[in-house]
Every structure is written in structure tokens, then in C-alpha cells.
């Protein structure tokens, strides 16, 4: 079949783009270890506190000794709140303070319906689904105050479901 020279050229470009995206996907999956959220880690949504990271005392910011992670932030979402536990004075934590440059893993689940967990302005963005634990790892380099928002409509109080992350310079 005869084909115009330019037609061949843009078909190669189209095919090349497809190949490029497949390679990008392959690098993510096989070299960088990207996997589906939770990846078969299940949890009883009625008894999330039976799972170590979601025990009252383990909620919120936890420093990690060794390893390549600096902090883990455990969170239990429920309509319409993010539970980060309590601070030393017994006050409910609404703002998490993390030094700039830290590698942080946010780890969360939900007790009721599907909630979102997005630290707006960073790459931390995940869905919290009942029965599953979800995790996202980010390096927080840029100081500032970031708002955590629920980006999955979860009910009448959805718009009030927020918290904050403050990244401060050491």
C-alpha cells in the first residue's frame, strides 16, 4: 500500500509516543515499585484500632528510626474528620509540623465511607477506602502551610473535612 511520506512520519511519531508512555509505565511499575493502593492489605473498618498504626497512641506524626523514611503520619478518617490523635497536652491535633526535607509516609484508612486525603500543593494524594490501608510517600522540601483536604464527596460535612501540615525550616 502506498503511503504518503508525511503520513508515515506522523504515524511513527504517534507510535513512538505510545511506546514512550509504555516505557514510563514500565519504569514506574518494575523499577520504582509502584503498586496499587493498599495492595491487598485489608483491615476491619469497624475495628481499625486493632491494627497497630491506628491505635490511639500511634496516630499522627511518628518519627522513624533508621530506614530511609524520616516520619510516618498515621490517620484515621471518618465523616467528617481526620484523626491524628492528641498532643502531649491532650489537645486534638489539627496541624502536623514536619521539618523541611523530610521523607514522610502518610498512612491512612477510614472507619465509614470513602474519603480523600490530599495534602494540597504536594504530591501526597490518595483515596481512603473502608477495609483498606492506603499509603503515600513524599519528600516535603518546600516550607509552608499546606491544607489537607477530603477530595472524595463523603456527605453533608464534606467541605469541613480539613487539617493542616506545616513544613518548617530547621
Amino acid at each position: 500500500m502506498h503511503m504518503h511520506r508525511l503520513e508515515k512520519l506522523w504515524m511513527f511519531i504517534g507510535g513512538g509516543t505510545l511506546l514512550f508512555f509504555l516505557i514510563v509505565l514500565g519504569i514506574g511499575a518494575f523499577i520504582q515499585g509502584a503498586q496499587p493502593p493498599s495492595c491487598l492489605t485489608v483491615i476491619d473498618p469497624q475495628r481499625v484500632e486493632a491494627h497497630d498504626p491506628f491505635k490511639e497512641e500511634n496516630l499522627g506524626l511518628q518519627e522513624v528510626e533508621g530506614g530511609d523514611l524520616d516520619y510516618v503520619v498515621n490517620v484515621v478518617a471518618s465523616a467528617f474528620n481526620y484523626d491524628f490523635g492528641k498532643d502531649e497536652e491532650g489537645n486534638v491535633v489539627r496541624k502536623i509540623r514536619i521539618p523541611a526535607g523530610s521523607k514522610v509516609m502518610f498512612q491512612g484508612t477510614t472507619k465509614d465511607v470513602v474519603h480523600g486525603f490530599q495534602v494540597a500543593g504536594t504530591n501526597a494524594n490518595m483515596m481512603l477506602e473502608p477495609g483498606y490501608i492506603n499509603q503515600v510517600e513524599v519528600t516535603l522540601d518546600n516550607p509552608g502551610v499546606y491544607t489537607i483536604v477530603c477530595n472524595e464527596y463523603c456527605g453533608t460535612g464534606h467541605q469541613f473535612m480539613t487539617a493542616q501540615v506545616e513544613v518548617y525550616e530547621e
Binding site: H4, I13, T17, D141, N142
Partner: protein, 50 residues
Amino acid sequence: MPNTHLEKTDSKTKIVQEEPNLKGTFIAVMFVFAFLVGTWFSVWGIFLNR
């Protein structure tokens, strides 16, 4: 003898098709390509910088 130069007409004579001019189409395709590449790399840039 008059030379009539009559040639045998052949119904199977090959009709030479002219190549269509696809230059404009190609430029339009390149615009789409540039848009895709540009948006993809700028989103990737946002991902890397924050």
C-alpha cells in the same frame, strides 16, 4: 501515405495519481504533538518540583 499517428487506446492505461499535498495537515499534526508533549512535561515538572 498519411501518417495518422493513431495509437491504440488502452482502457488499462495507468492513471498517474498526483500526490496530495499534506504539508498543512502535517503542520497541524505537529501542533497536536507539541501540545501533548508540552503539557505532559509541564505536569511532570510540577510533580518533580513539589
